[in-house]
């Protein structure tokens, strides 16, 4: 197992390095610099600023210098927020985003999994069509639409829940989590339905029935585990996706998260911030993919054995 993990981590290094390199030069090619503003900048001032950010060095040197800093875990100073290091900004944004992502994932797994399982028990019946239709809407409903809609209903009209904020007013974490989780819940619903249908047609389910187990035990004890493995495999990419895609929700609900920093950075040409967040996120993506593979293996004895020896 450990060997397998180590191997995967080693594989990740070149990937992340490549991401860094490409991003580094991509952002430099992009038009508009971090100091362009609506009012003309005095050349002397601009020169002074560029000196302060090492932008006066040749690009190659800047790149090497950045890698050196990175090796020391230094992501450099932010352009947009003078006096703040990228490390600091990420540290500030991560908790909210991670929490949001976690809740959203929870929503996705619980609602999606439930819908999928329920649907799979009576395929091609109302019990199947209704949850699946909802899921379809969930998939095509963009967050920039779902979010405000939920706020309108639960925040403005029903006045059940706060319309914005994060951890300021009790309950203000519910709507964002729902909004972000919805799309993934929909995907998970489809996945788990497919998975369950697959498993329910297996011979060992028939064996379980032949034992005289009641149907719900057949499902929970025998079918669920196998049926949800595809879902587990999907979790890693999903969580990474949540982190990267959380910015819409964060802006809608005024959540102090990483996503906002990330997108602002892109718009502001905050070179160090873009690089920093990209490095960070791509690392997370790799890690979570690995994590969900491990989880899947843990659920599946056969895989476990394979990794065990590999």
């Amino acid at each position: 197992m450990w060997r397998f993990i180590a191997g995967r981590l080693l594989q990740a290094i070149p990937v992340i390095l490549a991401v860094i390199t490409v991003t580094f030069f991509l952002v430099r090619v992009a038009p508009g610099g971090p100091f362009d503003s609506e009012k003309a900048v005095i050349p002397e001032v601009k020169a002074a600023l560029e000196a302060q950010y090492r932008l006066d060095l040749p690009l190659g040197q800047q790149y090497l210098a950045y890698l050196q800093d990175l090796a020391r875990g230094e992501l450099g100073p932010s352009f947009k927020y003078p006096g703040r290091s990228v490390n600091e900004l990420i540290a500030a944004g991560l908790p909210a985003t991670a929490e949001l992502g976690a809740y959203a994932l929870l929503v996705a797994v619980v609602l999606g999994g439930l819908a999928g399982v329920v649907a799979s028990l009576k395929p091609n019946s109302a019990q199947d069509y209704i949850p699946m239709s909802v899921a379809m809407i969930g998939i095509c409903m963009p967050t920039f639409l779902l979010g405000p809609l939920l706020v309108l209903v639960f925040g403005i009209h029903l006045e059940w829940l706060p319309v914005a904020g994060w951890g300021d007013i009790p309950g203000d974490k519910i709507l964002p989590s729902l909004t972000l989780g919805a799309a993934y819940a929909a995907y998970i619903a489809r996945l788990s339905r497919a998975g369950m249908l697959e498993v329910m047609s297996q011979d060992y389910i028939r064996t379980a029935r032949a034992k005289g187990l009641p149907e719900w035990q057949v499902v929970t004890r025998h079918a669920l585990r196998g049926g949800l493995i595809p879902v587990v495999a999907f979790l890693g990419p999903a969580f990474a996706g949540l982190l990267a895609g959380s910015f819409v929700v964060e802006t809608i609900f005024q959540i102090p998260g990483l996503g906002r920093f990330y997108v602002q950075a892109a718009f502001n040409r905050d070179y160090t911030m873009i690089l920093g967040t990209t490095v960070f996120l791509s690392t997370l993506i790799v890690l979570f993919n690995l994590l969900s593979d491990i989880l899947a293996a843990w659920l599946n004895p056969r895989l476990r054995a394979q990794y065990g020896e590999a």
């Binding site: 011979d203 005289g212 004890r221 056969r302």
Partner: protein, 528 residues
């Protein structure tokens, strides 16, 4: 009074292709302490009949039209799902055909084993586990203490079937339904399992329904035999009656299908087409681990025009040899001379040439045909690929092949799923012969087929062998079958050749213990 008595049971299915009657007003009895065998080829409705008794048929598509099945005074068919559940796994237990897929791969065998006990008898987990251990020992699992917490994939096929049996018996049922419990197993294992079932049945004096397509399997154990064809019971009687004085032609056909006798010895010695020298095929087992020596220093020759039988149980490396010759798996060392040239070295055009001259017939006719290609495409592909036929003549070629393998030309546009197993195997054979090969490796070509079909396919292969002047390597776990078709036989054990000789030689004077085991294992030897 009988333990179970089934009266004019009818089961219908609604399928995409309309409504069909799978079981047509059949009736039979199961006496306590007796083994009742239900025999018939796939599609005869024998399994459906039994599943319907326990409400294990998905309804829809299935529907029980009529009939009664009285089990100690109560009609199973009238019971509610709840009542049936009480009976299932407690009074009536089942064993299924494929132990590979019938155990839950995500649960330890222990947990699966105790489930029925805990559910029906309301005993504690600890007690249940105790009972499970005893039973595992009884069904002949070595060291149950260690194995009870393992997962199914860690067991061999035979062992899994033993676990299945233990699971079925754990509640001391009064009726055991065994659905082709040995069909997926090697002969040697099959013998053991049959032995086991018979023994347990005697000890517990329970009634058994034994479903099989192969009369010879039940020849030694069945008390009564029910023969089914196309949903009807065509003949019924005790073992004696059936084997000595079968009346119905279908029963006779089944009896005739049991492979017997050996091929007339080949005439004068011919030159070698294939020489295998010190062939080794090892599979790496992940970093550090010892490689699996599937084929370990094997040497033999195949003469032009002869059929060489390769016998051994699964894991003996017999299939790997075949695949090694055809370069379907990488050879570790040694050489394979085909008509003088070493195959192992070939690549590119040379390899393609060679592939034309050597072909393979696979075991599973369901997996070996591309489900999305019509028979026509499947057969036309090799013809065109090797320029044996042109766009114009290809149709002729295909139809010719259809004739050769005995398929109606009308079927040429159909897809594999529209054929029965036997027909599919004919298609596979046709594809192999399409390239006009000199040498064919047949890897268990009949072991997935019903006996009756098996006999036909073997006939076909012998025929075509003569017709095309084929040299053949016939791989099988079933000595009887091999003897029936092969000129010479190689006995393989753990990747090595342990004995070789003509069929008669092996049968009459086996040198090695392992060969004797194989012979012992042949079901219904008494009949031969």
């Amino acid at each position: 009074m009988p333990l179970l008595s089934v009266r004019d049971l009818q089961v219908d299915f609604t399928t995409r292709n309309g409504r069909i009657t799978a079981v047509n007003r059949i009736g039979f009895n199961v006496e306590p302490g007796q083994i009742t065998a239900i025999i018939g080829e796939s599609g005869s409705g024998k399994s459906v009949a039994c599943y319907s008794l326990l409400g294990l048929l998905p309804t829809p598509p299935a529907s029980i039209e009529s009939g009664s099945a009285v089990f100690d005074g109560r009609d199973l068919l009238q019971m509610s799902e709840r009542e049936l559940r009480e009976i299932r796994g407690r009074d009536i237990a089942m064993i299924f055909q494929d132990p590979m897929t019938c155990l839950n791969p995500y649960m330890t065998v222990g947990n699966q084993l105790v489930e029925p006990l805990i559910y029906h008898r309301k005993v504690t987990r600890a007690q249940a586990r105790e009972r499970a251990l005893e039973l595992l020992a009884e069904v002949g699992l070595r060291d149950p203490q260690a194995t009870i917490d393992q997962y199914p994939h860690q067991f061999s096929g035979g062992m899994r079937q033993r676990v299945m049996i233990a699971m079925a018996l754990i509640n001391e049922p009064r009726l055991l339904i065994a659905d082709e419990p040995t069909t997926a197993l090697d002969v040697t294992i099959q013998a053991q399992i049959l032995e086991l079932i018979a023994e347990l049945q005697r000890k517990r004096n329970i009634g058994v329904i034994f479903i099989s397509h192969d009369l010879s399997v039940v020849a030694d154990i069945a008390d009564d035999i029910v023969v089914m064809e196309k949903g009807h019971v065509v003949e019924r009687g005790d073992r004696q009656a059936i084997f000595q004085a079968a009346e119905h032609p279908y029963t006779q056909k089944l009896l005739a299908a049991i492979p017997a006798g050996s091929k007339p010895p080949a005439d004068a010695v011919r030159e070698d087409l294939i020489q295998v020298r010190n062939l080794c095929t090892w599979f790496p087992q992940g970093r550090g681990a010892e490689p699996l020596r599937a084929v370990d220093d094997v040497s033999f020759t195949v003469q032009r025009g002869e059929v060489l039988g390769l016998v051994g149980e699964s894991g003996s490396g017999k299939s790997t040899i075949g695949r090694s010759l055809l370069r379907l798996v990488p050879v570790t060392s040694g050489e394979v001379l085909f008509d003088g040239t070493d195959v192992t070295g070939l690549a590119g055009a040379g390899l393609k040439q060679m592939r034309r001259r050597m072909q393979m017939i696979f075991q599973d006719p369901y997996a070996s045909l591309n489900p999305r290609m019509s028979v026509y495409d499947t057969l036309a592909e090799p013809l065109l690929l090797h320029g044996i036929a042109t766009r114009k003549t290809v149709e002729q070629g295909v139809l010719q092949l259809m004739d050769d393998v005995g398929l109606a030309r009308a079927f040429v546009r159909k897809y594999p799923h529209e054929f029965s197993g036997g027909q599919r195997q004919r298609i596979a054979i046709g594809r192999a012969l399409a390239t006009r090969p000199e040498f064919v490796v047949a890897d268990e070509p009949v072991s997935a087929l019903d006996v009756t079909i098996q006999a036909q396919i073997l006939e076909l292969m012998l025929e075509l062998g003569r017709e095309y002047g084929l040299t053949m390597l016939f791989v099988s776990h079933d000595l009887a079958v091999v003897r029936h078709i092969a000129d010479r036989i190689l006995v393989l054990y753990k990747g090595r050749v342990v004995e070789q000789g003509t069929g008669d030689a092996l049968f009459n004077a086996p040198q090695e213990d392992y060969t004797r085991q194989l012979l012992q294992a042949i079901p219904g030897r008494g009949l031969l």
